[in-house]
Amino acid sequence: MEFVVFAIFAALAVLAAAGVVVARNPVYCAVALLVSLLSVAALFLVLWAEFIAVVQIMVYAGGVMVLFLFVIMLVDLEQRGFDLGAGRIGPRPSAFERGLWAVAALAFGALVLSLMVRSLDLPLPGADRAATMLQGPYAADGRGLGNTEWIGMLLYTDWLVPFELASVLLLVAIIGAVVLARRDQADAPAGKGAA
């Protein structure tokens, strides 16, 4: 049962990710990315990580996706014929360059594949630990605490310093957005309008 669900969503995630790369219309790319992100959320559920699954949907499928769509709308796609391929900037990469890219991609793929092959079916402390955390004493079983409760318990006690620092990080992100997206009076002679 679990394997079937995993197989379906894993395949969907990979196919949709390929769609992001292959599709020429940027809005299709965004939709394919959305499918991929949602499939990954389903994979988190298979792993019993409900909290991460919800975060995946809320932050990635929700927030980050909105950001992507906004950026697509900000860029003048009409001018580029609404086709990512037609709007290429700079010269076409030479065959040598593309060959290099292919070699790099293959090498990286081989590396990751070797990782999977060599660590398959062998005990991994990290995986075991995650499994015990998610299914063992940490799992929701009516008596114990669920995954979200455990995250709450740990994040706001032992991990409180990185947690508070994260809010400074978010603060800087907001300053960045305001500074970069907004023209203020103090700036050099402004053009007409922000667009």
Partner: protein, 117 residues
């Protein structure tokens, strides 16, 4: 996994309804394309320019602010479920966390970043 079956059911219904609607529309409605039918229009008025206008970069600011505060709400969930255990200590922590982002909100407002004129 069984407890997620209802959600799966919801997803299937969600996908199913539009599929059914589109298929039935295809089957039942008369199909006569051509003429002005394919043209875009705005509330019955013929459109004068392209619909794909370039948006102001200010919308980007809105999107970024949305993402940041979205992430903030994520942090509220695990705190809320453990509120009883964390007690006052957790409350103070959360107040500090939110106060920092409130400062960001204050900054955004004061900078007039949300002013539209």
């Amino acid at each position: 996994m069984e407890q997620y079956l209802p959600i799966l059911g919801m997803v299937l219904i969600g996908i199913g309804l539009p599929v059914v609607a589109i298929v039935f529309a295809r089957l039942l409605a008369p199909h006569r394309p051509g003429g002005m039918k394919g043209d875009p229009y705005e509330c019955g008025i013929e459109s004068t320019t392209s619909v794909r206008e370039r948006l102001s970069v200010r919308y980007y600011l809105i999107a970024v602010l949305f993402v940041v505060f979205d992430v903030e709400t994520i942090f509220l969930f695990p705190w809320a479920v453990q509120y009883q255990v964390l007690g006052l200590f957790g409350l103070v922590e959360m107040v500090i966390f939110i106060a920092i982002l409130l400062l960001a909100y204050f900054y955004v407002i004061k900078k007039g970043a949300l002013k539209w004129a």
